[in-house]
């Protein structure tokens, strides 16, 4: 029964990832696109953790931890570039 739930969660997060991709391409403002990219990172974290549940190992949490840190840093870098033109002043 867990396998059906994991398949459902996979489908939900994949659909969410596609909707974020739509928002990145057709977003109205820059803030929308930065937010959609950050949300894509978080959905990718969820997909990796779900894959780790399916495979039964714990290796994939390391990858999702790294992606969490990189997503946060890259969102802040995008926002600082739009605000100031420089990331590290």
């Amino acid at each position: 029964m867990i396998l059906y739930a994991v398949t459902f969660a996979f489908g939900c997060f994949s659909l969410a990832l596609l909707m974020n991709l739509w928002k990145v391409v057709f977003g109205a403002e820059i803030a929308d696109r930065i937010l959609a990219l950050d949300t894509m990172f978080i959905n990718a974290i969820a997909l990796m953790v779900l894959y780790g549940i399916v495979q039964g190992t714990r290796i994939y949490f390391e990858a999702s931890m790294i992606i969490a840190m990189l997503g946060f840093v890259s969102t802040v870098a995008y926002a600082r570039f739009i605000l100031r033109g420089n990331i590290i002043e």
Binding site: M1, A9, A16, L35, F61
Partner: protein
């Protein structure tokens, strides 16, 4: 015990899937940029937290160890989601809002500083 854990994991997975979907759907369908900021930062964080809870319960159910490794990711997301939301709001304000569309700042005019005029007169 194993049946209870199985139902618990299934419930966590289904609820978190729905939360993740609703968060991204709100990003798509809400009609103001500041409203669109709320949906992914809150709902998607909750969805990922649910998936991580399901993973912790699964590791407890199928192995000899009890892993709190996933709590680190949840904690990191809960700490950094407000910071990213603050930066994105700042981008929106600096680009799209003018001084007329923002709320009035009170006596100072720009920064809404507290007026200490009476206290200064007492000291001198």
């Amino acid at each position: 015990m194993a049946v209870v854990l199985e139902y618990l994991i299934t419930a966590f997975l289904i609820i978190s899937g729905i939360f993740g979907l609703v968060g991204s759907f709100g990003l798509l369908k809400l009609n103001d940029a500041m409203s669109r900021l709320h949906a992914p930062t809150k709902a998607t964080t909750l969805g990922v937290g649910g998936v991580l809870l399901a993973s912790m319960a699964n590791a407890f159910a199928t192995g000899p160890y009890f892993s709190v490794h996933e709590l680190m990711i949840t904690l990191f997301l809960l700490l950094t989601a407000p910071i990213t939301a603050n930066f994105i709001a700042k981008v929106h304000i600096h680009q799209k809002e003018s001084q007329d569309s923002l709320p009035r700042a009170g006596e100072d005019g720009i920064w809404a500083t507290l007026n200490l005029g009476d206290a200064k007169e007492d000291k001198s």
